[in-house]
């Protein structure tokens, strides 16, 4: 006997959505067991194969470091120089596809059902998007890239304003300055966010509207049908886990080296393995607390705090630097980006190969290899948004924030280089000697309160690693649990610790560079995966609209 006062704590039925009826039951392939006091609920065989493959590759990199370095050190540049046209063309397709979705009638489709309500406020949502997918890159490349493109890589053949003897060629200054910003914005604007948006939209659509498990293979249901639950799907999910874990672990290893360089620069902390292992341990420990506190109490909270600190640093640099010049840079950079977007995106017949192969194709492969992780995380927090709102918020607004960030950090750094080339620390660390980890601190040195802002910079670098690490652990745990987001807590602890352990082992034993090159190489197969996802989204939305 039920009574009629049933009080449901869930939202009202969320309106029509086009559920796919499949024979597969979520969790049917999972193994539930108890190891000592720890419960496990993992997908068979994705969990085991992912874990064993990762261990095997770590052993390979440690046992045969020279061979691994030779193979992957060759593979990555070979892929980006041979397939640069493919990466550039695919990324252009993703941008056009997303822009089309904004104006198409399918933009009205709501993720989670016609009457679903958003899970997160705009602020929490944006904070998580940035903190998972791009925060760390903005810290690392915000100064480096605009200066480098302005002075060295000569995108679209725009000549450098700095002569070989270090003097400034006044005639080249204006064009090189705006091109430096535009060429950087191109790598951080519409294209990377379109890559993330495609994966996130595919996963959110097939999970929240079609009722399939939140895992990468679900987006392939329109192509593979029921076969997606078999080995095809196992391979897709395992590849995603593999790319995500190695991507995070190798970035964590390099991140520790960068943070160590920053600490050395500011406090004279010696550079060495001990400090770096301690940093990885510290980052992993904070990430562990974050995953134990969960999505709202850990990941979202930390992302919001970090974004607030990043915003304060941005405002400080804006006010302490030449404010009017920066505003002018913002608009001229944006204008130059709009004007040069088509030539910069041109996939064939380019003569600026240093830029297009060394930077653009590398970036596209990198964003694409990260897209299963970031896309899946974005999908999980995007329920309740319409497709139009989703694309505008994942594509347009983050792009504008990146433009602002690059205009402020890059604008100030370029100004420092061009106004005082003899004394500029940025020129010394980026142009005279290539020392990327110190570029941010070199720029901050030229502003007041450098000691304080450098400490804030180091904290931001570390916490952005934490926010990638914790969200990455949740994503890997979900994939290896067959799309279950409520698997036992020890599993997410395992992945978080495993990631830190892989980073430490590779840091001590060598192999960070070769395995990161390998991860970036996975960008090639994933580019094909993303193209298939575009088609799947189109199919999915078409059925949804009926």
């Amino acid at each position: 006997m039920t009574d009629d006062t049933t009080n449901q704590g869930i939202p009202e039925p969320e309106g029509h959505s086009d559920i796919i009826e499949t024979d597969y039951q979520i969790g049917q392939d999972n193994i539930e067991t108890q190891i000592g006091p720890f419960g496990l609920d993992v997908h068979n065989p994705v969990f085991l194969i992912s874990g064993l493959t990762i261990i095997a590759f770590v052993f390979y990199a440690l046992a045969l470091p020279e061979q691994a370095s030779a193979v992957f050190g060759w593979l990555r540049p070979w892929l980006t120089s041979t397939f640069d046209w493919f990466f550039l063309s695919a990324a252009n397709i993703f941008v056009l596809f997303c822009l089309f979705l904004i104006v198409s009638p399918w933009g009205r489709v709501r993720l989670g059902g016609a009457e679903a309500t958003p899970d997160y406020s705009y602020i929490g949502w944006f904070a998580m998007l940035f903190a998972a997918g791009m925060g760390i890159g903005l810290m690392f490349f915000g100064v480096l890239e605009p200066v480098y493109h302005m002075a060295i890589s000569e995108p679209l053949g725009v000549p450098s304003p700095i002569a070989e003897d270090g003097s400034i060629i006044a005639a080249n200054v204006e064009a090189a300055k705006t091109m430096g910003l535009a060429a950087t914005i191109y790598h951080w604007g519409l294209h990377p966010w379109a890559i993330y948006a495609v994966v996130a939209l595919a996963l959110a659509l097939f999970s929240f509207n079609k009722g399939l498990p939140l895992t990468i293979r679900s987006a392939f249901y329109p192509v593979l049908g029921e076969r997606v639950w078999g080995w095809w799907g196992h391979v897709i999910d395992t590849l995603a886990v593999f790319a995500t874990l190695f991507g995070l672990a190798t970035s964590l290893g390099f991140g520790a080296q960068q943070a160590n360089a920053g600490l050395n620069h500011v406090f004279g902390v010696p550079i060495g393995t001990t400090a770096q292992v301690l940093l990885i341990t510290g980052i992993t420990a904070i990430a562990l607390i974050s995953v134990l506190r969960g999505l709202d109490g850990g990941v979202k909270l930390l992302s919001e705090v970090n974004m607030a600190i990043a915003a304060l640093l941005l405002i400080f640099v804006l006010l302490a630097g030449p404010t009017l010049v920066i505003f002018s840079d913002f608009f001229s950079g944006l204008g130059a980006y709009a004007k040069n977007l088509i030539p910069l995106s041109n996939p064939v017949g380019r003569e600026d190969t240093g830029y297009v192969q060394g930077w653009t194709a590398f970036y596209w492969a990198w964003w694409i290899s990260w897209s299963p992780f970031v896309g899946m995380f974005i999908a999980r927090v995007s329920r309740g948004r319409t497709v139009r709102e989703f694309i505008i918020c994942v594509l347009i607004i983050p792009s504008l924030v990146c433009v602002l960030w690059m205009a402020v950090f890059g604008g100030v750094a370029i100004d420092q280089v061009l106004s005082n080339p003899e004394t500029s620390a940025v020129k010394a660390q980026v142009i005279d000697s290539y020392n990327p980890p110190l570029s941010l601190f070199a720029m901050l040195e030229g502003l007041p309160l450098a000691k304080i802002t450098s400490v804030i910079g180091i904290v931001l670098v570390i916490v952005f690693f934490v926010t990638s690490s914790d969200s990455g652990s949740l994503v890997i745990d979900t994939i290896t649990a067959g799309g279950k987001v409520d698997a036992p807590v020890p599993q997410r602890v395992f992945w978080c610790v495993f990631e830190g352990a892989v980073a430490i082992v590779l840091l001590i034993g060598g192999g960070l560079a070769s395995l990161q090159a390998m991860v970036i190489s996975t960008g090639l197969p994933f580019t094909v995966v993303l193209l298939v996802m575009c088609w799947a989204i189109w199919r999915g939305l078409r059925d949804e609209a009926r």
Partner: protein, 154 residues
């Protein structure tokens, strides 16, 4: 629709020790909850209290439904079965969480308020070493809830 069971209302009244009993259920692992389910139903019958089954689901598709609404239907069906089997008045209270694994305790505290519960009956494992690091849900509820909590071991 309110239906009366054989024992409903025979002892229910203002003097009842408990008028609303809540028992959290994990529909995917009902086997391990049998003692708490039987105990809660017996207590509900004994005190003439209403019994509310609380379940927390993810917003993503799971084994128990494509979405929270489908999960809620299952929980209601379960409550109806239990009501019929034990001859009590029972209802379901489904909740959706962003991260159910870590948000379970908070949701259960919320459910106590939302349902007007005055006794929680819940299953918990026999404490072990890990409970010092991660307290069990039952342990946490017993330690912090403002209403009576009966933790059923085993």
């Amino acid at each position: 629709m309110a239906l009366s069971g054989p024992r409903e209302n025979d002892r229910k009244g203002e003097n009842s020790v408990f008028s609303k009993i809540m028992t959290p259920v994990d529909l995917a692992h009902l086997g391990g909850l049998q003692r708490a389910l039987d105990c809660a139903a017996d207590l509900a019958g004994h005190y003439g209290a209403d019994l509310v089954y609380v379940g927390v689901t993810a917003e993503t598709p799971g084994a128990l439904g494509h979405n929270p609404a489908e999960y809620a239907e299952r929980l209601e069906a379960f409550a109806a079965e239990q009501a019929k089997a034990h001859g009590i008045v029972a209802s379901a209270h489904a909740m959706a969480a962003h991260d159910p694994t870590t948000d379970l305790d908070d949701n259960l505290f919320k459910a106590i308020d939302e349902t007007g519960t005055d006794l929680v009956v819940m299953q918990s494992h026999i404490p072990n070493l890990t409970d010092y690091i991660w307290p069990s849900n039952g342990g946490k509820l017993a330690a912090h809830a403002k209403v009576s909590v009966m933790v059923v071991r085993g």
